[in-house]
């Protein structure tokens, strides 16, 4: 988005050589002063009244309005900016500018809509920090036209999500600073933020590492893997410091290196008999009937085949079904026909496999119990009730809000006493609804 804006500005500057008017704004007045908004943001203007009152909303929300079938919210800008607002009678029509934001349309009530004024964007001055009535972050500039001064409002900053994201962070930061050092409470925020705090340094470096892990490996740090990422950091720091290398991850190789100890055992290979025996302790005690397992992030299918072999060995009487899913089409498409080299397969699997010309593969009676799916966790949908979910090292590669969503869906779809198994370095941050039964380095949880 920001790039687009700068591109536009550059373009506008190019065009300016030919004509000096390259920025048009709709001007209006609020409490006797002149304001403008970028005409590109304005959908239309109209006279409207009789807004439907919305109870319990902020004072500046006048209500909602039916704009030819679309319901839009209506904001009174005068109240929003603490300006005196004329009381309007029951049936009076008021001037409304309808602005189009990225994802919604909002009506703004103003005193009077004036006209469209064209100016040169070069003549727009930055807002002065001592501006009175209106918070400076809502102003994109000041422009002069026909010896009148117009305050250009930044509609996105006022109503968009942009400001909402910035504000809480600032408050948080100032709060934490105040907690640490009550003595500098009165120092203006900008100044105190500039003072380097040595004990924050490693935090900041870890922060950078987390960001680069997202960039290079789409690894998202969250409460699920925070413990690991912190302990790995001290180890990493030592390793790199001794070798006189940069602490920061400079490329995809570094990122892979950093994550090398993150992965659970037997990633991308069949589980060993020992590991199967460990996991088997967590199989829910179901006496009979259908038993559904979901294995998201199955990749080429090694994990899914290991799971079905484990179940066949320990609970052959159950009516088993394993759903393996992955969003990497190439990997998951090869899973149903996965071939194994005889030497690389533990003896444990012998009874479930058959030899073919090109190598070992699983018996079709085993394969029939597995359904491999091309599926993106982003588009989670409902599926059959689950007894067990094995999702090792998958959540950490999802964005944080998606991590929560996936965990929520798992909790909803697991049967009572169903089991969830995460990667060895992952933990459930919120045990609400879960019982932690982790053991032997296996992160396992039972639904309560």
């Amino acid at each position: 988005m920001e790039n687009v804006i700068t591109d536009n500005v550059l373009e506008q500057q190019e065009i300016k050589k030919e004509s000096s008017i390259d920025f048009k704004m709709v001007t209006f007045s609020l409490a006797g002063k002149d304001y403008g908004v970028d005409i590109m943001k304005v959908k239309e203007i109209s006279k409207a009244g009789k807004f439907t009152f919305v109870p319990n909303s902020a004072p500046y929300v006048r209500g909602v309005y039916n704009l030819r079938g679309d319901i839009i919210s209506v904001i009174d800008l005068r109240i929003f900016f603490n300006q005196p607002a004329k009381q309007s009678g029951e049936n009076d029509l008021e001037s409304m500018i309808i602005v189009r934001l990225e994802d919604h349309v909002i009506g703004i009530i103003v005193d009077e809509i004036d006209k469209v004024v064209g100016i040169s964007s070069e003549s727009v001055q930055p807002p002065h920090p001592l501006f009175g009535d209106i918070n400076i972050k809502y102003i994109s500039g000041i422009a002069e036209s026909n010896s009148r001064l117009y305050v250009i409002l930044d509609v996105d900053a006022i109503f968009g999500t942009k400001s909402e994201e910035v504000v809480p962070k600032e408050t948080l930061k100032s709060e934490s600073l105040q907690d640490d050092a009550p003595s500098i409470e009165s120092v203006p925020q900008a100044v105190s933020a500039a003072i380097p705090d040595p004990k924050d340094r490693s935090d900041r470096e870890l922060g950078f590492i987390k960001e680069t892990l997202v960039t290079f490996k789409q690894f998202y740090s969250s409460a699920i893997n925070d413990n690991w990422i912190k302990s790995r950091y001290s180890q990493w720091f030592e390793e790199r410091y001794n070798k006189d290398q940069s602490i920061q991850l400079t490329g995809i190789d570094d990122a892979e290196n950093y994550l090398s100890s993150f992965y659970s055992p037997y990633t991308n290979m069949l589980w060993s008999e020992d590991y199967i025996n460990q996991i088997a302790q967590f199989i829910p005690k179901v006496s009979s009937g259908n038993f559904n397992i979901w294995n998201p992030g199955c990749g080429k299918g090694y994990e899914t085949y290991s799971i079905i072999s484990m179940m066949k060995k320990f609970r052959p009487e159950l009516n088993l079904k394993v759903h393996g899913s992955d969003k990497d089409l190439i990997s998951v498409a090869s899973a149903p026909g996965l071939l194994f080299n005889k030497n690389s397969v533990p003896d444990f699997y012998d009874e479930f496999m058959v030899e073919s010309n090109s190598g070992l593969q699983f018996l079709s009676s085993i394969k029939d119990l597995i359904m491999f799916e091309f599926r993106d966790l982003e588009n989670l949908e409902v599926f059959s009730r689950l007894d067990m979910v094995i999702i090792r090292d998958v959540l950490s590669f999802l964005k944080e809000d998606l991590q929560e969503k996936v965990l929520q869906v798992i909790l909803e779809n697991l049967k009572d006493d169903g089991i969830l198994i995460l990667g060895k370095n992952e933990i459930l941050p919120d045990l609400n609804g879960w019982e932690d039964i982790s053991e032997n380095g296996i992160s396992a949880y039972r639904k309560r």
């Binding site: 089409l329 359904m371 949908e381």
Partner: protein, 154 residues
């Protein structure tokens, strides 16, 4: 979507379009989508029933539809008339039927429902509780997207 279903649709779409249009067909990367998606202007839809439930949607803009129908009929059509509509539905039917035949050979039972064609501007399609696989194709006549949404019958 079950991985076994993907290839038959991709293969039959590719080979049939190549054959009936006698032209270079390029396949784009497959991807998954759930939320509602815009439809370009002309959409032929074929429903699936049997072991599974779902539908296949062939989506293209009006100009592409007219050009494809012209190429298949060997005459120049200028609007989406009955002949053009019949031609596009037939193309959808051929592709789906061949895919279903391939799936049948793999042991999956699918039935087709009568096909329909939908035309208009500014349309969207939303699938409830099922993820759609999008297979984009680039033809000399324009872009055709095959949108397959199938789920196992619970």
């Amino acid at each position: 979507m079950r991985v076994e279903y993907i290839n038959p649709f991709v293969e039959s779409a590719y080979s049939i379009m190549k054959e009936v249009l006698n032209a270079e067909v390029k396949r784009g990367d497959l991807y998954l989508k759930k939320s509602s998606q815009p439809v370009m202007g002309v959409a032929a839809i074929v429903g699936l029933a049997g072991d599974v439930e779902g539908r296949v949607l062939f989506d293209m803009d009006e100009k592409t539809a007219i050009d494809i129908a012209s190429a298949m009929n060997g005459e120049v059509l200028t609007e989406i008339d009955d002949l053009a509509k019949a031609t596009i539905t037939e193309l959808a039917n051929m592709i789906t039927a061949q895919a279903v035949t391939k799936l049948h050979d793999l042991g999956f039972r699918f039935d087709l429902t009568p096909q329909a064609i939908i035309t208009g501007q500014n349309m969207r399609v939303t699938d409830m509780n099922v993820e759609a696989l999008i297979v984009p194709f680039e033809l000399p006549q324009g872009k055709v997207e095959i949108n397959v949404a199938i789920r196992e019958r619970a």
